[in-house]
């Protein structure tokens, strides 16, 4: 049971306790920043190296993916969505592989991501169609459904948050139980499924659903 809770690593004088997920997030941020600085050095149009070609393939895939969902607006919202995708992929897969607890197992992290997604979804709708249309679209197709469509603002990020949190926590709990009963060899393939496959899938699903909701809002 103690594995479920998020421990406080140390406390600062003003802000209070710093929990484990925050520290792991800092580490991931540092790794990603250093990696992006190192990987984007020496880019050239004339003779691209192996690293540059791989980067271009990856970024090109992600841009095509979001352009397929959002359409033309993908240029504006793409960088944020790709950043979240990379962060979630790193948090779900790399952190467990190097012995950290995944930060997405903490409800506060996924809630923060979901609140950011909520702001982005509503902002994209307002920006595309204006405030008047945004207020009016709650009463479509009939005004009776207005309470439900207003509730949808909260329900969509709530389900995003709970899906990510529940999946990561479930994988974590199953793996801890398995490590307790059979510490030898057996956890390896299970860890492949829960950490790598499920982690990447959930990162994909999170940004995919955010983009899908944005398209819905921008109609």
């Amino acid at each position: 049971m103690e594995e479920l809770s998020c421990e406080t690593v140390f406390s600062l004088p003003v802000v209070g306790g710093i929990s484990e997920s925050v520290v792991v997030t800092w580490i991931i941020m540092a790794v990603l920043v250093v990696a992006s600085l190192l990987l984007t050095r020496n880019l050239s149009v004339e003779n691209p190296g192996k690293v540059q070609l791989m980067l271009e393939a990856g970024i090109g895939w992600a841009q095509d993916f979001f352009e397929g969902i959002i359409g033309k607006e993908a240029k504006r919202y793409g960088p944020y969505l790709i950043t979240v995708l990379i962060y979630l992929a790193a948090a779900n897969t790399l952190a467990p592989l190097f012995g950290f607890k995944p930060p997405t197992k903490d409800l506060n992290v996924t809630a923060a991501l979901a609140v950011m997604s909520m702001c982005l979804i509503e902002f994209s709708g307002i920006r595309k169609n204006g405030v008047k249309h945004w207020v009016k679209h709650f009463a479509e197709p009939v005004p009776v459904v207005a309470p439900i469509t207003v509730l949808e603002i909260v329900i969509r990020p709530l389900s995003l948050c709970m899906r990510l949190f529940g999946n990561m926590l479930a994988g974590f709990v199953v793996l801890e139980l398995l490590k307790f009963f059979v510490p030898l060899i057996v956890p390896i393939p299970v860890s492949f499924y829960f950490d790598i496959f499920d982690g990447l899938l959930q990162a994909y699903v999170f940004v995919f659903l955010t983009a899908l909701f944005m398209t819905e809002e921008m109609e």
């Binding site: 899906r163 529940g166 926590l169 899908l212």
Partner: protein, 73 residues
């Protein structure tokens, strides 16, 4: 009291039935669709992943409720 809490958590986890049946049906239909139209595989699998993620959410909610029952009560 302990027994009642355990039974409550077990009932909450029964939501997994719905998710299992739903994902099973979705995957079966996707396999049929791919057999009928192999060239549309990428579109079908994209929709399949989306549908599975949405269907799975119910099981996850059950899991979270079960966990909350055990931890909070």
């Amino acid at each position: 009291m302990e027994t009642i809490i355990a039974i409550g958590a077990a009932i909450a986890v029964l939501t997994g039935i719905g998710a299992g049946v739903g994902i099973g049906i979705a995957t079966g239909k996707a396999a049929e669709a791919i057999a009928r139209q192999p060239e549309a595989e990428s579109k079908i699998s994209k929709n399949l992943i989306l549908g599975c993620a949405l269907a799975e959410a119910t099981a996850i909610y059950g899991f979270i409720i079960g966990l909350l029952i055990i931890i909070l009560l």
